[in-house]
Amino acid sequence: MGTYIPHTDEEIAGMLAFLGLSDINELFAAVPEAVKLQRTLELADGVGEPDVLAHMEQFADQNRARNDRLVCFAGGGAYDHEIPSVTRALAGRSEFVTSYTPYQPEVAQGVLQAVFEFQTMVARMAGLPVSNASLYDGGSAAVEAVNLGVAATKRQTVWVSEGIHPHWRQMLATFAVGTGHIIRTIPLVGGVTAWPADPTGVDGSPGVVVVGYPNYLGCLEDLSAVRALCDRLGALMVVGADPLATGLLRSAGDWGADVMVGEGQVFGTTLGFGGPYLGLFACSSSHVRRLPGRLVGETVDVEDRTAYVTTLRAREQDIRREKATSNVCTNQTLMAVTAAIQLGWLGTSGLIEVATRCARATHYTRGAVLAVDGVTPWAEAPVLREFAVRLPIAADTVIERMADAGFLAGISLEGAVDGGGHGLLIAATERRTADQIDAYAAALAKAVA
């Protein structure tokens, strides 16, 4: 029998007999012959685990850009942060890994409490009172935030800063086709969003304004201006924030945001070529009944002991169906638990420390890189843990050359901002050393020469 099937042939025969059947294929009598597959699947037969591993290791080996081979200076929403053994060990506990969504709270307090702690941590970083139990990734969190904002303001127009991750903006465009939202991109000038004084054109006044903090170019924008704009327009303020940066930066809520969304990969989740990551979503209390996704709340059991349970379920698809606030069901719980563990490891001082170390490494890198002939700043606005430069030649070429020198140089700004082809987005995390950065700058000098 198949690799992970316990049954022996005798047992199968016995079970079939109990069902009054003689052949296992009779189980599929309800399937019309006409549609049945009349051949076997054209896939290789099953192989032993060692062969499977060997096969997968071949793929792994063909990835040149693994962070144990190329020193990583790429960011853009996915960062090469320290993941301590303790986080891997705890997040790998099979009780967390192999359980389903906590439908039976009596036997799911482990996941429920961990998520409750996660929600508390996210809310504190966001400076907002409510956080959900996770969404797919930063981009999907942004989409849900826009849906919430439009539903709240009943206005379909959405202003999105060009400083929002280009992939998030692409997702907003994709899903707007279904929801009918009108997405208007507000350009960056000098690294910060140039908000129009007033709504122009047919779109009308926006119900939602979305801004990045720091934005995609790593720049820090003055969000008080955005808050003022939203007040004037009566729009919801959605901030796409880097949660790790909150170790040093004012929180979204502190700037007056109604909703904070973000990418939680920075808290203990491996780069993993982009997934699974962790969509963060926090908002003000007034919007809790429009919250997308699961929400864990504290309560008590019949013996009055503290207990946790998913709550406000009436918002969700399985109950509200076509009127649900979102269609999300399976989310990224394990990454949320991982983040709670990683944040527990960082703690209050560690969150500040890691943000500070990233900022130091980034500023040190920026200095070294801008000292390279022909490399100039993309924008003058202040940066924290990531920055963009203009190269004398195409960024793609430079990235290829830098790989030969042992570095993943960064991300080309091609397609992200106008004329981005010569733009390179560079991030240096707490894992980068002065030696690595100096070598990087030296290699860059050769690469652009």
């Binding site: 029998m1 690799t3 992970y4 294929n25 599929f28 549609v35 049945k36 076997t40 290789a44 037969d45 099953g46 685990e49 499977v52 290791e57 990835n63 693994r66 996915a78 301590p84 009780e95 890994v97 192999t98 906590p102 039976q104 709270p105 009596e106 036997v107 409490q113 961990a114 508390t120 809310a123 009172p129 996770s134 797919y136 930063g138 999907s140 994709t174 170790g247 040093l248 993993g272 070529f273 982009g274 997934g275 990551y277 709340g297 309560t299 002991r305 406000l312 169906r321 269609n327 069901c329 990224q332 719980t333 394990l334 703690g347 001082s349 560690g350 040190y364 202040p382 924290l384 993943l408």
Partner: protein, 515 residues
């Protein structure tokens, strides 16, 4: 013997005893915030040699936060104890049978954890160019081709992060296709047995939900379906086998009818496990198919995610797939065998990066281990197990649609409730006490007091036996002790029945919301 009077309390924070370790399983585990004590720490970082510039020189004043984010401060030792104790308060597949209908809680092979942890897969930045990520692109292409063979479709996107994301992606594909053919349509049909994500996705896709009833066979009522089919119908979403665990026998007629009015068929792949290698959605006439890799292909559910919901489509819909997509360039040059391509009429991006990639890697490893032959056996034994349970219990519980089922069976406590006031929930909670996870309850909505049991193929006959014996004993006990007594269960779990109403009434979504 006396207790020291002037004994000083050195800290008010609760101590690190295994209070919640189910070894003892009584007290609650304090939150990390209660265990927290100012000044404790776990973190450590590498020596970098980078000058220690002050924060003032790094962050302009207006951006600098004044008060630190109060996360929690614990030692690594207490961090480990806390989360290890929490894990002891959590049921999981690794602890026992988890017959949660519609969720396919099969065994998650450990080899896949090893695969997901390979530095060459886990350590790759998603923005690295194709030339440096050939392994990942090759893996994704191989998986896509495999999933297409399994579903009988032409091509697939691996971007959707879960089933619901796949549904919405599919509906946007539907919309794009109709738009491209100049016909804006407004309605999408779903059966009344459909999962909640279906109607929710339809709305987000910008369509209006039209529900068709199920007939007395538990299948789509053909007459009712025909009556709602017209030129305004963009398509229909079906789960087959459906959420009653029954195969939609009229699928060919349904497909023909829907296609006749120019509609498309969407296949909700949550139950794909039942038909692997037996019948393929593409051969049934479906145009769009999502798969839940975290169900059919055994990637662990992680307490509620991550999953992966690739969407495969028939030839005519390929130009609309989300992009960029990995593809075979045909080039023989090293590092150029695979590349990224965005279909000319793509609906665009539906994931920030390329999908839940490490979940994709796990799924491919699982498929390779089973092979084409193994996949068919999975379907056969999954269906065998479910039917054995049905046959064994059909005198003990009501079976609303008492005929051979596929991979899951929906029982009901209708009679038990009528005669003894015992509800499906009571049976479920009582089963927890027996050491099993409960079945899915009250779904599908069209069955009253539903107990939806999906054993999956990885539960051994002796486990089925034990499950059946427990369910029989509970039914007998229900008659013997009555509803009230049964309603007190479970007793031996870390917590007993929880006050869900109170949770919603006085919402406490964070530790800070506590008065």
């Amino acid at each position: 013997m006396m207790i020291d009077e002037n004994a000083t309390i050195i800290t008010g924070a609760p101590g690190g005893k295994a209070s919640s370790a189910p070894l003892l399983g009584r007290d609650a585990e304090p939150t990390l915030f209660e265990l927290s004590h100012p000044g404790r720490r776990s973190w450590s970082f590498r020596t970098t040699g980078i000058p220690e510039v002050g924060v003032e020189d790094l962050v302009p004043a207006i951006h600098r936060r004044t008060a630190p984010v109060d996360v929690a401060e614990v030692s690594e030792r207490d961090l480990v104890a806390h989360f290890t104790r929490l894990s002891h308060r959590q049921f999981s597949v690794d602890l026992g049978a988890y017959p949660l209908g519609s969720c396919t809680m099969k065994y998650n092979p450990k080899i896949c954890d090893t695969v997901a942890g390979l530095p060459g897969l886990a350590g790759v930045h998603p923005a690295a160019p194709a030339s440096m990520t050939q392994g990942w692109l090759g893996l994704m292409v191989e998986l896509e081709e495999t999933l297409c063979e399994v579903t009988g479709m032409a091509a697939a996107t691996l971007q959707p992060a879960a089933g619901a994301a796949g549904e919405l992606t599919g509906l946007l594909l539907m919309r794009a296709w109709h738009d491209a053919h100049g016909a804006t349509r407004h309605k999408v049909i779903i059966p009344d047995s459909a999962h909640g994500t279906n109607p929710a996705s339809v709305t987000l896709g910008g369509y209006e939900v039209v529900t068709v009833p199920s007939d007395d066979r538990g299948c789509v009522d053909m007459a009712a379906l025909r009556s709602v089919l017209d030129e305004d119908v963009a398509g229909i979403m079906l789960t087959n086998p459906n959420t009653l665990g029954l195969f939609e026998e009229d699928i060919a007629e349904i497909a023909a009818a829907v296609h006749r009015v120019g509609g498309l068929l969407y296949y909700d792949g949550a139950n794909l496990n039942a038909i692997l290698g037996v019948v393929r959605p593409g051969d049934m006439g479906f145009d769009i198919v999502h798969m839940n890799l975290h169900k059919t292909f055994a990637t662990p559910h992680g307490g509620g995610g991550p999953g992966a919901g690739p969407v495969a489509v028939s030839e005519r819909l390929v130009p609309f797939l989300p992009g960029p997509r990995p593809y075979r360039t045909g080039s023989g040059e090293p590092g150029a065998a695979f590349g990224w391509l965005t279909p000319e009429r793509s609906i665009g991006r539906v994931h920030t990066w390329h999908g839940n990639t490490l979940v994709l890697a796990r799924a491919l490893a699982y498929i390779l281990a089973n092979g084409g032959d193994g996949l068919k056996q999975i379907a056969q034994v999954a269906v065998l197990n479910a039917n054995w349970i049905r046959q064994r219990l059909h005198h003990t519980y009501d079976v609303p649609f008492d005929r051979p089922c596929m991979h899951e069976v929906v029982l009901s406590t209708r009679t038990l409730k009528a005669e003894h006031g015992v509800r499906a929930l009571d049976v479920a909670k009582r089963l927890l006490e027996e050491g099993f996870h409960a079945p899915t309850v009250y779904f599908p909505l069209i069955v009253e007091e539903a107990l939806m049991i999906e054993p999956t193929e990885t539960e051994s006959p002796q486990t089925l036996e034990a499950l059946a014996v427990s369910l029989e004993a509970i039914a007998a006990e229900a008659v013997r002790v009555g509803a009230e007594a049964l309603a007190t269960y479970p007793h031996g779990t870390p917590v007993r029945r929880v006050d869900e109403a109170r949770a919603a009434r006085t919402l406490i979504p964070t530790y800070d919301a506590k008065d």
